[in-house]
C-alpha cells in the first residue's frame, strides 16, 4: 500500500511500486490529463507537481511518491480558471493540445518559484517541455500575462 496526497485528497494505492506515476494516473486512476510522449524524461508531456516541484511522471516510480503530495493538471485549479489556464485561453496557445498539460504544469511550477519570471527564467523552465506544433511564442506571452495581475484578464 502506498499512501499519497493526490490533488489534495489522501489516497492509498495497492499497485506495483515500480510502476511510473504516469501509468498509475492514466490507467488506474482515470486521470488522463497527464500525457505520455516519450517515457524517458525527454519531452515534458507528463509533468506533474511533486510537493510543488515539477517532475516527469513517466520516470517517477510510485514508490517515490509515498507520503508526498502530487498535483496533476486536473488538480491545478478547482474550476479550470487558474491564472495560467485563463492566460492560455486569452493567448489561444494550444494547437493539437497534446503537450499543453505539461506546459501548463511546468509554467505553474515556475510561477510558484518566481511569481514575476524574467524571459530568461521562462526560457530555462519552458525549454523542458517540447511542442511539435510550435506554440512557444504564445506560451511565452501567456506566462507573462498570468504573471502580471494588471493584464491578466485583458
Amino acid at each position: 500500500m502506498i499512501s499519497l496526497t493526490l490533488n489534495g485528497e489522501p489516497r492509498a494505492l495497492d499497485l506495483d511500486p515500480e510502476m511510473p506515476l504516469l501509468w498509475v494516473l492514466r490507467d488506474h486512476l482515470g486521470l488522463m490529463g497527464t500525457k505520455y510522449g516519450c517515457g524517458k524524461a525527454e519531452c515534458g508531456a507528463c509533468i506533474v507537481h511533486l510537493d510543488g516541484e515539477p517532475v516527469n511522471a513517466c520516470m517517477t516510480p510510485l514508490s517515490q511518491v509515498e507520503g508526498r503530495s502530487v498535483t496533476t493538471i486536473e488538480g491545478l485549479s478547482s474550476d479550470g480558471r487558474h491564472p495560467l489556464q485563463l492566460a492560455w485561453i486569452i493567448e489561444q496557445v494550444p494547437q493539437c493540445g497534446y503537450c499543453q498539460p505539461g506546459q501548463i504544469m511546468m509554467a505553474a511550477a515556475l510561477l510558484n518559484k518566481h511569481p514575476r519570471p524574467t524571459d530568461a527564467q521562462i526560457e530555462e523552465a519552458m525549454s523542458r517541455v517540447l511542442c511539435r506544433c510550435g506554440t512557444y511564442e504564445r506560451i511565452r506571452r501567456a506566462v507573462h500575462r498570468a504573471a502580471s495581475p494588471e493584464v491578466q484578464n485583458g
Binding site: M32, A45, P94, G97, Y98, C131, R132
Partner: protein, 724 residues
C-alpha cells in the same frame, strides 16, 4: 438519452468527452442520421433501432436543430491542431446566423456525404479542409437559415423578405415578433428545403474573417481534452506490439514464458505486424514486451543504410528520367547561355514525431465493431476494419478523437490494424499503444531526395534556362497508385513542376528511386523538399548574375501580380533595401502551395558555430481568411516544424534499422530556439487556400539563403551542417 442515435454531442463546455461517455456506456456506436438520399450506405445497427427524437430538424448532413433549442453542427474533419474544429463550424454558423457560443459540435461518422472532395475520400490532410468546405458548408448553413425564415414567414403569414435571421432567431421587420429556431422546428419540418440559396455577401459577414477563439481551447487547458490514448471503455485492455525492427522482416520464433509472468499481462498473441502483449495496464504491457524472446527472419533489408540509399539516389542524378514539365529546349538554352551553373541539393529523411504516439482502440464484437482512433482517414479505417473483421461497413463505426498531431502520419492504418487484430482475438476492447521508440522506428518518413539543378543566364544576367531533376522514392505509389502517370509521382515534384517563375526554357524531371525505408506524406507536402532546392538555387543564380535575390524574383514574376504584391510587401516589412544588422544574415524564399502564397525572410546569426534564427518575417496571401488567428498559429507552427527539419536532426539507417529512437537522438526545436515570427496576411478576394502546411516549405530555404548571406557558404543539404 433522448438523442441516442444522434451522434456524440459536444458542447462548448464539454468537448470530446469520449472517455466519459464511454465509461458511462452512453450514446456510442451511433451514426448521425443524415437524410436518406445523402447516405446511400447502410446505417449502423444502432442508428436503425435508435428512436428518432420527436422534434428535430436535419435540413442537411451538417446542421441539426432541436425543438428544445439545441443547434448541432457536424464536424467531418480531424482536429489535429490546425483548427478545423473552429474554422469549419464558423462557415456553417456564418450562414446559419448563429453564434459559435450557441452551437454544439457533433463528430461525423463515416458517410459518403462527408467525403473530402479534394482527396476523394473522407480524410483530412494536405491543407485541404477549408478549401473543400468553403462553398458546401456555407450553402448548408444558408439552406437551413432559409428554411427557418420560410417557417417563420408561414407562421406569421408574412413575406420571407420581411423576416431576418439573427443569432438563432427569426425576427419580423415589425421589430416586435420573433421566434427561435427551436420554436420553428415543427413548422419547418413540413416545408421543403429550398433548392437554391443565396450566400451572404462578404460585407455582411460577422464571423468569417474574425479571430474567433478556438472551440477546443477550454478542454485543452483543463486537461479534459480526449486524445486517442485517453479513450477508456469498460473492460478495456492495453496492448503493445513487438515488431521486427528491419523493414519487411517477420517474426521467426518467439517465447513468452517470462512475459506471462508479469503481473497484469493477460495474453500474448502473434498477429500480422508482430507479437502483441495484452495487459491490464500500459505499464504491464510494456514490462511484458521487454521480457519477450523474439527472433526475426533475416532479410536483405538488413543492408539498408543511409550511405547506400544516398549512393543509390546519386545514380539517378544522371541518365533517363520522366519529364514532369517542359517548355522550350533546356539543353539548347543551357548551351547557348552566357553563364551556366549547376548544383546538387540533398534533403534527409524526416519523421513525423507527433507528440501523441500512434495508437488506436478497437472494440470488435461478433456483430459490430467500433474504432476509437485519432485518425486523419476515417474511410480507410472503416475499410480496413471491414476487411479484418469480415463485418459489413455499416456495422463498423469510427469515432474520431482529438489528434495529438497528424502531419500525414495518421493517414496510415498500420496502428489501426494492430488494435483490430488484437481485439478480434481477445474478444475485449483493446487500446494499442505505440511507444516513442515504436513511433520513430516504424514511421513512414519524408523521403530522402536529391535534386540536380542547372540554370542558364544570358549576358544581361537574365535567367534563360532552368532544369530541376528530383530523385527519390515514390510516396504515392503505395498510397495512391492511380495518381502515378508516365512515371511521375505528383507529390514528389509538387513545387518543382508548378514553379511560378517565367523562364523560357524549362524542364522538370522525376527519377524514381525506391528504397526499403517506408516513406509517406509529411507536413508541407512535396513542397517541403522541392522548395528548398529551387529557392536556394535561384539565389545561387542571383549571386552568379550579381543581382539581388528579391529583384531577380520580381523580374521572373513580372506577369504574376499576386506574387509581386507579396514580394513587395516582404521587402518593406523586412527592410530588405537597407543593410542587415551587423552579425545577422537575411534570406528570402517564396512558395506557392495549396492555392496560397507565402514569402519569408529569415534573420539568422551564428552562435557557438550553430545557426540561430532570430526572426522570421512572413507575408501570406491565402485568399479569403476564415480566421486570421488560426492562420497565424499555423504559420508559426509551420515555421517551428520546418526549423526542426532544417536545423536539428534527421533520420538515418544503419544495418537496416532507424538510428534515432528518442528525442535526444532526434531533437525537436525547443522553446528557447523559437524565433520571433512576424506575420502579415494580405487581404484577398480569392477563394481560401490551405495554410496548415504553408509555413513549412519556405523556412528551410530562407534560412539557408540567410546563412549564405552571412557566411558566403552555400547550404545544399538539410539538415544544415556548417562546414566551417
Amino acid at each position: 438519452m433522448a438523442d441516442a442515435g444522434v451522434g456524440r454531442r459536444l458542447s462548448r463546455r464539454s468537448l470530446l468527452k469520449i472517455g466519459a461517455l464511454a465509461g458511462g456506456g452512453l450514446a456510442l456506436g451511433i451514426h448521425l442520421p443524415v437524410r436518406a438520399e445523402l447516405d446511400p450506405e447502410p446505417r449502423s445497427a444502432d442508428a436503425k433501432t435508435a428512436p428518432e427524437a420527436p422534434v428535430e430538424l436535419a435540413p442537411n448532413a451538417w446542421v441539426r436543430i432541436h425543438g428544445d433549442g439545441r443547434i448541432e453542427l457536424v464536424l467531418a474533419r480531424s482536429e489535429m491542431g490546425q483548427g478545423v474544429m473552429t474554422a469549419l463550424p464558423m462557415l456553417l454558423a456564418e450562414e446559419l446566423e448563429v453564434g459559435l457560443d450557441q452551437v454544439q459540435l457533433v463528430i461525423a461518422p463515416v458517410a459518403r456525404v462527408y467525403a473530402n472532395r479534394l482527396l476523394g475520400v473522407q480524410a483530412t490532410g494536405e491543407s485541404t479542409s477549408v478549401r473543400d468546405a468553403w462553398t458546401p458548408l456555407r450553402e448548408a448553413g444558408a439552406a437551413a437559415r432559409a428554411l427557418m425564415i420560410a417557417a417563420a414567414a408561414s407562421v406569421w403569414e408574412a413575406l420571407p423578405s420581411d423576416c431576418q435571421a439573427r443569432r438563432g432567431r427569426v425576427h419580423h421587420s415589425d421589430g416586435v415578433r420573433s421566434l427561435s429556431y427551436g420554436e420553428l422546428v415543427a413548422t419547418a419540418s413540413g416545408l421543403a428545403p429550398p433548392d437554391r440559396v443565396a450566400l451572404k455577401s462578404p460585407a455582411a459577414w460577422t464571423l468569417i474573417g474574425t479571430s474567433q477563439q478556438r472551440l477546443d481551447t477550454p478542454e485543452k487547458v483543463s486537461g479534459g481534452a480526449h486524445f486517442g490514448l485517453d479513450i477508456r471503455l469498460p473492460g478495456l485492455l492495453f496492448a503493445t506490439l513487438y515488431r521486427c525492427p528491419v523493414p519487411g522482416s517477420r517474426v521467426l520464433s518467439w517465447r513468452a514464458a517470462e512475459t506471462l509472468k508479469v503481473a497484469g499481462v493477460v495474453d500474448v498473441l502473434a498477429v500480422r505486424n508482430g507479437i502483441g502483449v495484452v495487459a491490464e495496464s500500459t505499464w504491464a504491457a510494456l514490462q511484458g514486451r521487454a521480457r519477450l524472446d523474439v527472433s526475426c527472419r533475416p532479410t536483405v533489408n538488413a543492408n539498408l543504410d543511409s550511405q547506400r540509399i544516398r549512393s543509390r539516389l546519386r545514380i539517378g542524378l544522371k541518365g533517363r528520367s520522366a519529364v514532369a514539365r517542359k517548355s522550350g529546349d533546356v539543353s539548347l538554352a543551357l548551351a547557348a547561355a552566357a553563364h551556366e551553373i549547376e548544383a546538387v541539393y540533398e534533403v534527409g529523411f524526416q519523421p513525423h514525431a507527433c507528440m501523441e504516439p500512434m495508437n488506436c482502440t478497437a472494440d470488435v464484437q461478433p456483430d459490430r465493431c467500433a474504432l476509437y482512433v485519432p485518425t486523419q482517414a476515417q474511410e480507410g479505417a472503416r475499410a480496413i476494419a471491414s476487411a479484418i473483421t469480415g463485418l459489413a461497413p455499416g456495422r463498423i463505426s469510427v469515432h474520431t478523437s482529438l489528434l495529438g498531431g497528424g502531419d500525414g502520419r495518421r493517414l496510415e492504418q498500420d496502428f489501426v490494424v494492430d488494435a483490430l487484430e488484437l481485439s478480434l482475438r481477445v474478444h475485449r476492447p483493446v487500446q494499442v499503444v505505440w511507444t516513442r521508440e515504436d513511433d520513430f522506428r516504424h514511421d513512414f518518413f519524408r523521403p530522402m531526395t536529391l535534386h540536380r539543378l542547372r540554370g542558364g543566364l544570358d549576358a544581361e544576367g537574365r535567367v534563360t534556362a532552368w532544369f530541376h531533376r528530383v530523385v527519390g522514392p515514390s510516396v504515392l505509389a503505395r498510397l495512391r497508385p492511380d495518381s502515378i502517370r508516365d512515371g511521375i509521382d505528383p507529390f514528389m515534384v509538387e513545387g518543382a513542376a508548378d514553379i511560378a517563375y517565367e523562364i523560357p526554357d524549362l524542364r522538370i524531371e522525376y527519377r524514381r528511386a525506391d528504397t526499403p525505408a517506408a516513406v509517406g506524406l509529411w507536413r508541407g507536402g512535396g513542397y517541403a523538399h522541392t522548395s528548398f532546392a529551387a529557392e536556394c538555387f535561384l539565389d545561387e543564380l542571383a549571386a552568379a548574375a550579381g543581382q539581388d535575390p528579391l529583384m531577380m524574383r520580381r523580374h521572373l514574376l513580372a506577369g504574376s501580380p499576386r506574387h509581386l504584391r507579396l514580394l513587395d510587401r516582404i521587402g518593406e516589412r523586412a527592410g530588405w533595401g537597407a543593410a542587415a544588422t551587423q552579425g545577422l544574415g537575411r534570406g528570402l524564399a517564396l512558395v506557392a502551395a495549396f492555392e496560397s502564397l507565402i514569402a519569408m525572410v529569415a534573420e539568422v546569426a551564428l552562435e557557438g558555430g550553430r545557426v540561430r534564427v532570430h526572426r522570421v518575417f512572413c507575408v501570406v496571401d491565402c485568399g479569403r481568411v476564415v480566421n486570421p488567428d488560426l492562420v497565424r498559429g499555423q504559420i508559426q507552427g509551420g515555421v517551428a516544424y520546418g526549423l526542426t527539419a532544417a536545423l536539428k536532426g534527421e533520420i538515418s539507417f544503419t544495418d537496416g534499422q532507424v538510428d534515432q529512437l528518442d528525442f535526444e537522438q532526434y531533437p525537436l526545436l525547443r522553446f528557447g530556439e523559437m524565433p520571433e515570427v512576424v506575420i502579415d496576411i494580405l487581404p484577398s478576394d480569392a477563394d481560401p487556400g490551405g495554410v496548415s502546411g504553408l509555413g513549412v516549405p519556405p523556412i528551410a530555404p530562407a534560412v539557408a539563403n540567410a546563412v549564405f548571406a552571412l557566411t558566403g557558404e552555400r547550404v545544399r543539404s538539410l539538415p544544415i551542417r556548417l562546414a566551417s
